[in-house]
Symmetry: C2
Subunit: 191 residues, 2 copies
């Protein structure tokens, strides 16, 4: 099974945030008692790998929402930038995606929630994503931060579950076909 | 009811063709005996409005596939560029989207199949699209011609039917919320 798993919401035109990072358009769809599959998803990963922008957005929420370990990809932040109360749970790395996966596998991780547009694209580009759960929000933002953009390679997918929600969201599960082989190699390398 | 209706397939990363216009990636999903809703859709429109690129792609297929009248938006083509055998069915216009809608309403059209990325975006930007049926193909192309791109305005949608197909396609129906008002105005103007 491939290492990286994506679980993300996007507008129908493929944006995950406004140009300034705002996700106000997403908040009206937070329905009480409906997690759109999030809890089951997070239960199935060993931790998270995210970019600096996503990390700082989450930090801004106040309460840290993740019980599992988080790896933040950044070339500008250092360990000292992590607030004291999060240092057991958050680490910063400047490593490349393949090296991160290698190191985390060596620690026993079998999969990670890969989050943030730029990090998702870099993992996709290197064949390190095995599953994508994309929740489409019924809006065209017209501009913003793209989920996929130009990742520079073609990725074949196999569609699995489709879950329409009453509030207009629809969640689409895909398995990445090609990265199974890449994941197999990575597992060999990691063991 | 708003005038323009979109019925289009896109890769999960939002491209409707490769950078050179090729749709080879789409063809394996043409299933015998399954039109993915096309016949019902085309039965519900009075004709088509498309861009020059789409027109030339369709011309290249050989057999002209449309029984209904087609309006081609182009600033470079003229009536003389339309092959003789299509002149009863195809006309070229350099008019702007709102003027086209006005003229077609005056002829009795109640709705049109609006096709081609650039034309869809220009109609969306002017609030002239009422419905979008987007069929998502299980592939990331990585680059190509975008469906939505930056249309420069926000469009709120209401999700209606969701139809997963056995070959991995999934068809999503949306009603455009905002353009109902614009359509009402256009109807008043047209009558």
């Amino acid at each position: 099974m491939s290492f990286g798993k994506v679980f993300i919401a996007a507008s129908l035109d493929g944006f995950i945030a406004r140009a300034d990072g705002a996700i106000d358009w997403l908040l009206p769809f937070n329905a009480e008692g409906e997690d759109h599959g999030y809890d089951a998803f997070i239960a199935g990963v060993d931790g998270l790998v995210m970019g600096r922008a996503t990390y700082e957005t989450v930090l801004g929420f106040g309460d840290w929402p993740y019980a599992k370990p988080v790896v933040v990809m950044s070339r500008t932040l250092g360990a000292a930038d992590v607030p004291q109360h999060l240092r057991q749970r958050v680490r910063i790395t400047a490593d490349a995606p393949a090296d991160i996966v290698h190191a985390l596998r060596a620690e026993g991780w079998r999969s990670a929630y890969v989050d943030g547009g730029e990090v998702i694209r870099s993992f996709l580009a290197e064949g390190l994503i095995g599953r994508i759960t994309l929740t489409l929000v019924p809006i065209l933002l017209g501009r913003g931060r793209p989920l996929f953009g130009a990742i520079g390679r073609e990725v074949r997918l196999e569609r699995e579950a489709v879950r329409p929600f009453r509030n207009g969201l629809v969640s689409l599960d895909y398995r990445v076909e090609h990265s199974e082989k890449a994941a197999g190699l990575a597992e060999t390398k990691g063991n």
